[in-house]
Symmetry: C2
Subunit: 428 residues, 2 copies
């Protein structure tokens, strides 16, 4: 049996777990797959930091490029994250004819088509199952099983940190700061949570999902992105009162003018499959023209599940090296082709503080009507000095919805537009 | 571009939809996949029956073996179902070096290892994504993405007909016969529903899932199988009272003495991901040692979703024929290795009609204790002449649970063991 030499860049949570698995369970992996995989080189940014993994026979280097230079490394795993030096490593390894497995959503989102073209040119695969949805197998189903299907929309809860925080806010009625602090204490949120709570992480994953589902790789900057930082307990009350649940969604859809990717909090009906996805779990919901609705759910992050997704790709690539199969990365897709978010239909839910005087509702209705937005539901709570209105619109373009809200803000009788949140997965 | 010739055996719901898609949408499939697929021969059992599909350039034959003999057919799709002539066709096509795509769970369950060995020997793939879970991509995730994972258990709602009936009984409180008649009227159940309601269809799918997850192909006759025919409205009331939902589950698990596959109704906690799977939807829930819990849900049957799963395999196999990749079927697995169901731990829920006299509960508890089964919960409803007891046990071996129930039946104070249903996915 030929031994396949593995080189790994990065030994953080995912890399360390992967090395442990490959070194300690080497015989078990062989028994299960018929492959002998040996970790031969590990590149670490900080050589002085204490290591928690058993390096086995591996040589430790400080420079990731040594993984490319080392002829005993047949296959490169990149789990350092970030754009550089990860990008240079991936390109150099592919050009040297070494298959690459990466979990780097930022890199794949930003440079996917280019890197896939390098892989295709070199005739070796670039695999990245772990970049979206952690341990959830989603890339093979999208690119292989559903190859004949016309996918219309992909909607995902693809960030475990924010889903954990939103679940805590919904269950406990706590405010955002408290829920975030609790998530940090339990290790579900980073000390600097910006990339998660701002939706940036979800946006990168949305770009990758769109690329695989539609063959169009939208720029990360083309993604309309809103985070969860401004959600308040009142928003969760509003959601519950309407029989909905608040989720941060990454949505990729095929529109007549191109592909639109957006990330924002959304009200989802409590009966929708995504509403049941709680805590740090991730889920991806696919709407296809023939297949209908598919849901994939599982652990979106964590060392073990993500390392297993990386290991699945490593096994696949190793089989390819042994000639058992020629593994093909997802096809290089076109860049660009982003559609206009402004012309995308959305449905909105609004919370308004208004004067409780006759004719207020008529003024509000007129403002919506002029913007071309029709109202699905109005609910008034509280009487006397002022009143709270909950309003749900029917679907209309983003630009129409925003123009309606602008008009509301100019109405004297509207004291405050306290909250505007989109609604997804509704029947209307 | 080389055109790939497709031969299709069977033009029922799935085959007809597939032909429509391949013929009418030929250019669209080419645009999406870069492949030119032409249906060149269709084999029909009954040549005189009116056809609803457009056969395009295809020749119609009465004998399925003509698909093998026709040199213009590069790839064979088998969607006739049943063991014969499907089995002979699949073997002959593989031996002639033609990749085979099948949706035939009965054939794959009964002869999987043998057929996969023929495919491996001939160096061509045998693909069967549509045989389990209809349109849900499950075979590639199990065999490729999770290749490095130790899977402990696979639990599925894999029969849409029974899940439709159970959902109707839970929602409407109707009895089995009424719900079945409604399912038949709406086309969710066949005029002869035996294969579905007896659990036989689910058992075949359970065998396939076990083969892929554990590499051990259990005989269909080794599957412990109970259908849904005897479930009553009282069972659904019991489930609801306990915060559970009644589902027909196919369960495949790895036990120390081998692989155990079983199909039976089960109480599932309302908070379990499988509890939310309603109507004709299917779902497969995977428990792995590293990845934790994964859920795949989607349309389990129906012409369109199943035809799309077949088409995904056809595209995969066609790419292989063009040299873009060498497509590998799931590895041939070992036959046998079935573990003992009797020694498998299960948890039971019982409904008893008992005399309402002092000491009855002590007698019942003693019977459980002697059998080595401990009681988790007892709930008594009704007083006076007689009483109803709901009991939930902790986990114990099947044989112990059955022995406890046998002892209960011998107790004078127990008028009737009205129902025994296993509990799955509970915390205890």
């Amino acid at each position: 049996m030929r031994t396949i030499g593995i080189g790994i860049a990065g030994a953080g949570t995912v890399g360390g777990t992967l090395i442990d698995r490959l070194v300690a369970d080497r015989a078990a992996v062989t028994a299960r797959t018929g492959l002998d995989l040996e970790v031969r080189r590990v590149a670490l940014r900080d050589l002085d930091r204490p290591r928690s993994f058993d390096k086995g026979a591996a040589v430790i280097s400080g420079d990731v490029m040594e993984l490319v230079a080392d002829s005993r490394v047949d296959l490169v795993v990149e789990v350092i994250g970030g754009l550089e030096p990860a990008g240079s490593l991936v390109v150099a390894a592919l050009e040297a004819g070494k298959p690459v497995v990466t979990a780097n959503k930022e890199l794949v989102a930003a440079r996917g088509p280019e890197l896939l073209a390098v892989a295709a040119g070199a005739g070796v695969p670039l695999l990245f199952e772990a970049a979206v949805g952690g341990g959830i197998p989603i890339i093979r189903p999208l690119t292989e099983t559903l190859a004949g299907e016309r996918i219309d929309r992909v909607m995902g809860i693809v960030n475990g940190t924010t889903n954990f925080i939103l679940t805590a806010m919904a269950d406990g009625g706590s405010d955002y700061a408290t829920a975030l602090a609790e998530a940090q204490r339990l290790g579900y949120a980073e000390p600097d949570p910006a990339a998660d709570v701002s939706g940036a992480d979800a946006a990168a994953k949305g770009v990758i999902l769109a690329g695989l589902a539609f063959g169009v790789w939208v720029g990360v900057d083309d993604v309309h992105r809103e985070g969860i930082e401004r959600l308040s307990p009142a928003d969760f009350e509003m959601a519950a009162r309407l029989g909905h649940v608040l989720k941060l969604l990454a949505i990729a859809e095929r529109r007549p003018d191109g592909v639109v990717v957006r990330v924002h909090p959304a009200l989802v009906p409590a009966t929708h499959p995504l509403a049941a996805i709680r805590g740090a779990t991730n889920a991806i919901f696919i709407e296809g023209s023939s297949v209908g609705e598919l849901l994939f759910a599982g652990p979106g992050a964590g060392g073990e599940p993500t390392a297993m997704a990386v290991l699945g790709d490593v096994i696949d690539a190793a089989r390819g090296l042994l000639g058992g199969s020629v593994v093909v990365s997802p096809a290089p897709a076109a860049t660009g082709g982003a559609g206009s978010f402004d012309s995308t239909p959305t449905q909105w839910c609004l919370r308004l503080e208004v004067e409780d005087s006759p004719g207020v509702l008529a003024q509000i209705a007129a403002a919506f009507g002029e913007a071309g937005v029709s109202i699905k539901l109005v609910r008034q709570d509280g009487r006397g000095e002022g009143a709270s209105l909950l309003m749900v619109t029917h679907g209309a373009t983003e630009v129409a919805q925003r123009s309606a809200v602008g008009a509301l803000r100019r109405l004297h009788a509207v004291r405050e537009v306290a909250s505007t949140i989109r609604v997804e997965g509704d029947e209307a």
